[in-house]
């Protein structure tokens, strides 16, 4: 099914994207409201939560350029050394900019 990008069509498309996104924002909580929280589910939820972050970051590191890899490595090192998120993030971004400025393609 095709929707033409006339004014009405675009508004319809935006509405559809909004609803689909809203379903994802509400859906997990809605489903959980039928689940009894026991220690096992609690443990699943907690491990899953931190795994979400890893599952976003690791493919990002592998699919990106040398700059994005440098950003993540530097952030990780500073974060583990200092436990302070802001310096770690700032250093990571700087590393990405620097690597790209220097035109390094591989580390």
């Amino acid at each position: 099914m095709m929707i033409e990008t006339t004014t009405a069509g675009v508004l319809a498309l935006i509405a559809i994207i909004t609803v689909v996104t809203l379903v994802t924002r509400f859906g997990g909580v809605f489903i959980m409201s039928f689940v009894t929280i026991n220690p096992r589910i609690e443990s699943f939820i907690n491990t899953m939560a931190s795994s979400v972050l890893i599952a976003i970051i690791v493919p990002m590191a592998f699919s990106g350029d040398a700059g994005s890899l440098a950003a993540l490595v530097v952030t990780a090192v500073i974060m583990l050394a200092t436990k302070k998120p802001l310096p770690a993030i700032a250093a990571g971004i700087t590393a990405a900019g620097l690597v790209r400025y220097l035109g390094l393609t591989t580390l």
Binding site: T18, L22, M32, I45, M48, I54, S68
Partner: protein, 246 residues
């Protein structure tokens, strides 16, 4: 709202401090909003349509993917599939906040979820791991991110040329670095490290071999399975098999 039946004490003054706490990262989000605004008008959206989309959708990666499919016509099913796949991580993110959210009335609960996005969720989920309950960051931090996203889109559609290449400044890595810092700031028990390893390997495998945009959910569920079968502290009765999906 009846405060006696729902025990979560939502503190308005904390919403304010969480707003300011996520303001620095929101400044970077402005740059991405601008990149989106520019991409959207280049793909033929009207400026106001692009701003409207950022206002109502508020999910950057899926918006970029959506306008990437733009043309004189847009085919609906692929659009819905891509947007759903990219945003499906929200399902897991929302579910992970459920132990806190269930202590709020449904109206507030779903109202808060309107503001759910990666950065404010990461803060809330990470603090929950260390025993702190912080849903205020979802609202306060979410507001900062949302306003920044809309403001950035506005900048991009009207003054897109200002920041042609946020990538050269490393700005595309802000969210990645932020999420990584949040992950590493949490507790790192042996169980967590095993779960991370499993999540990393399965998300990479999914990224390589499964349909696009499924890797986050696959990796997160695989990591979650470790938690499902490996309970911390008390020695557990072994369960032969079980469903790992929520």
């Amino acid at each position: 709202m009846n405060a006696s039946t729902y025990s979560y004490q939502f503190r308005p003054e904390k919403v304010r401090s969480e707003f300011f706490r996520l303001l620095p990262i929101s400044l970077f989000v402005v740059a991405f909003g601008a990149a989106f605004g520019l991409a959207a008008v280049q793909k033929g959206l009207e400026p106001l349509q692009a701003i409207l989309m950022s206002f109502t959708v508020f999910a950057g990666a899926s918006q970029f993917a959506a306008v990437d499919m733009w043309g004189s016509e847009v085919s609906l099913i692929p659009l819905i599939a891509v947007v759903f796949a990219i945003n499906s991580r929200h399902l897991l993110m929302g579910a992970s906040l459920y132990p806190m959210l269930r202590e709020m009335s449904p109206g507030r609960r779903y109202g808060l979820l309107l503001f759910l996005t990666d950065a404010n969720w990461a803060v809330s989920a990470q603090e929950y791991q260390s025993g702190k309950r912080n849903l205020e960051v979802i609202l306060g931090g979410g507001l900062a991110l949302w306003l920044a996203w809309i403001f950035g889109t506005w900048l991009g559609v009207y003054f897109g040329g200002l920041l042609q290449d946020p990538k050269s400044l490393g700005l595309d890595m802000v969210l990645g670095c932020f999420l990584l810092a949040m992950a590493l700031g949490g507790n790192k028990s042996p169980r967590t490290l095993v779960a991370w390893t499993v999540a990393a390997i399965s998300s990479l495998a999914a990224w390589k071999w499964l349909p696009p945009n499924t890797h986050v959910v696959v990796g997160a569920l695989a990591g979650g399975a470790i938690g499902f079968f490996w309970l911390e502290k008390k020695p557990d009765d072994t369960v032969a098999d079980g469903e790992t999906s929520p």
